[in-house]
């Protein structure tokens, strides 16, 4: 090897080392001491062992103003590349907080965009790990344009490839909108997301609030609904991403993986789990776990809008999406947050060809001025719209209550359910007996010699006539009244039949879902 070769190799090795050194040992130690992994360590944890391949590792900022000529580093504060997750290719970016606080400038944005473009070309998932102080002020408008380039790509890729955002540090200002556009947001306990931080909030409104209380993981996982999953640390969080991806296809043109599991049919337990008395509550997750492959239920947004449960599971090894009213909270009624939560989940499943199972036990849309004034009409409409628009196989099981508009909204026959089952204790009606008798029997009760006896007579009559699944079955709104112990086998058989479902909606640029 001559000297020229030797020099060239040494130069390349030095540049590689410089990229790997990131922000230096001191900053890496600080990152570790705060319980956080470095950008590259996160890639290692995300991908199957030894499969991560870095792209554009020599990226460097072109900026020189405000001392950038001295501050810039090879890699520009982000690591991008591809690797394999469960043997399938995926692309990712991981912001490096040790380099300039992970701030996003022109070159970093370009690097991220190139990886996103590759993910789209390869029809593979894109995972964005966020740990950044925000826009790189020294790069001015080029930094903001970098965000715009990412948001644009997020939007175009939506519904084509699964996009997952992982927040593992600060994510503030405009930077929040990339995660917000993606399909799922994972947060670690020590991460934060907010449009304006506590200092700005205080100066503008006078409100004093901590970062965690303003935009911490606990807040976004339970109150705002911004985060879908919250984990205590980086490693468990990235394991969560791997677990989620196991349920998803690579793209809207792909199918999900078949994962043979333990197909134990616990439907026989359902009559013990669900009280026949529709006023008594139970945990609908016990119902779900009795139906699906053992241990396969993966709940999405478990702490937000807890009156509805959504998540992925496997039935005979194949992914399904589940939407279920949760009687433990608000008696399972639908309100604004539950409608939004379920509608978004349904649309995700429909985008990626994941069949839907709906478990119905719903008394109503939640009444009250708070709901009305905050727009339950337009939010509830999202749920109806999403079910109506979804062309994937859709099966419903009406377990107990299915009243009024909420009955319609929970994947009823009229809005496109392919198969509707009902248990013998199901009550499918405009409203519960008590409310109905108060309205339709008002005059009769008032005119009666014994109003109490008359009311009871009308209640008995209403219960006999309407509080059962048979009128709906007679009229074709329920395909079959089934025993609880038949539930899994009926659902599995129906999904098998529906596998070749090929429904095409009329051509349109896109619908106009009430947002």
């Amino acid at each position: 090897m001559d000297e020229l070769w030797q020099n060239s190799i040494e130069r390349l090795n030095a540049r590689r080392e410089s990229a790997k050194a990131a922000g230096g040992a001191e900053r890496i130690a600080k990152q570790h001491s705060s319980g956080k992994l470095t950008a590259r360590e996160r890639m290692e944890a995300l991908f199957d062992d030894g499969t991560f391949v870095e792209l554009n590792d020599q990226t460097m900022s072109r900026a020189s103003d405000f001392g950038m000529d001295k501050k810039k580093r090879i890699g520009d504060g982000v690591v991008t590349g591809y690797g394999y997750i469960h043997g399938r290719v995926a692309f990712a970016s991981s912001q490096d907080f040790t380099v300039g606080g992970g701030s996003l400038g022109e070159a970093q944005a370009q690097r991220i965009c190139r990886a996103m473009d590759k993910a789209m070309e390869m029809k593979a998932p894109f995972i964005s790990i966020n740990d950044s102080g925000g826009a790189r002020i020294e790069e001015g408008i080029d930094s903001l344009t970098g965000y715009a380039d990412i948001f644009y790509r997020n939007t175009i890729a939506s519904g084509v490839i699964p996009q997952i955002s992982v927040i593992m540090g600060p994510c503030a200002g405009g930077a929040c909108y990339s995660p917000a556009i993606t399909d799922y947001i994972f947060m670690t306990d020590y991460s934060q997301m907010f449009i304006t931080g506590p200092a700005v909030v205080k100066s503008v409104t006078g409100e004093v609030i901590s970062s965690a209380d303003l935009g911490g993981a606990a807040v976004h996982g339970s109150t705002s609904g911004v985060a879908h999953f919250v984990y205590p640390d980086d490693l468990s969080c990235l394991n969560g991403v791997r677990e989620l991806l196991g349920y998803l296809p690579q793209s809207n043109l792909d199918s999900t993986l078949e994962v043979p599991g333990v197909a134990v049919d616990n439907s026989a337990a359902l009559a013990d789990i669900v009280p026949a008395d529709s006023k008594k509550a139970y945990d609908v997750r016990d119902v779900i776990n009795s139906i699906v492959d053992m241990g396969s239920f993966f709940e999405v947004q478990p702490l937000f809008a807890r009156n509805i449960v959504v998540g992925f599971a496997r039935l005979d090894g194949e992914t399904i999406g589940i939407i279920a009213n949760q009687s433990l909270y608000m008696a399972g009624s639908l309100e604004i947050n539950a409608s939004d939560k379920a509608a978004r989940f349904i649309r995700f499943c429909d985008s990626f060809n994941i069949p839907l199972l709906t478990l119905v036990d719903v008394p109503a849309f939640l009444p009250g001025s708070q709901q009305e004034h905050n727009g339950i009409i337009r939010h509830g409409a999202k749920l109806l719209y999403s079910y109506s628009e979804a062309t994937v196989p859709k099966i419903s099981v009406i377990m107990r209550k299915a009243y009024g508009g909420a009955y319609i909204a929970m994947n009823s026959k009229g809005i496109g359910a392919d198969v509707v089952y009902a248990w013998p204790v199901a009550e499918i009606a405009v409203m519960g007996a008590s409310g109905a008798v108060n309205i339709i029997g008002k005059k009769a009760i008032e005119a009666a010699e014994d109003p109490v006896a008359k009311r009871q007579e009308l209640l008995d009559d209403y219960n006999e006539k309407f509080m059962n699944p048979y009128i709906a079955a007679e009229h074709g709104y329920v395909d079959e009244v089934i025993l609880p112990e038949e539930t899994r086998s009926k659902i599995a058989t129906a999904f098998k039949m529906l596998k070749t479902k090929d429904k095409i909606l009329p051509y349109k640029k896109h619908g106009n879902i009430p947002l």
Binding site: H32, E44, E243
Partner: protein, 56 residues
């Protein structure tokens, strides 16, 4: 164990697997595979970690 011994054992294993006479194997160069950053972090901090695998 000495580095040379480790290399000799590795060469012997590979030669045996491939049915090659070990006396005819010449090691021209070798590269030590160091622990990755993540492996070091996990080891240094005594973290109990198992990477999630499909179907678990």
């Amino acid at each position: 164990m000495e580095e040379a011994q480790i290399v000799a054992m590795a060469v012997a294993c590979i030669a045996e697997e491939n049915g090659v006479d070990i006396d005819k194997v010449v090691v021209r160069s070798f590269k030590k595979v160091e622990k990755t950053g993540l492996e070091k972090f996990i080891a240094d901090n005594n973290i109990s970690y198992h990477k999630y695998q499909l179907g678990e």
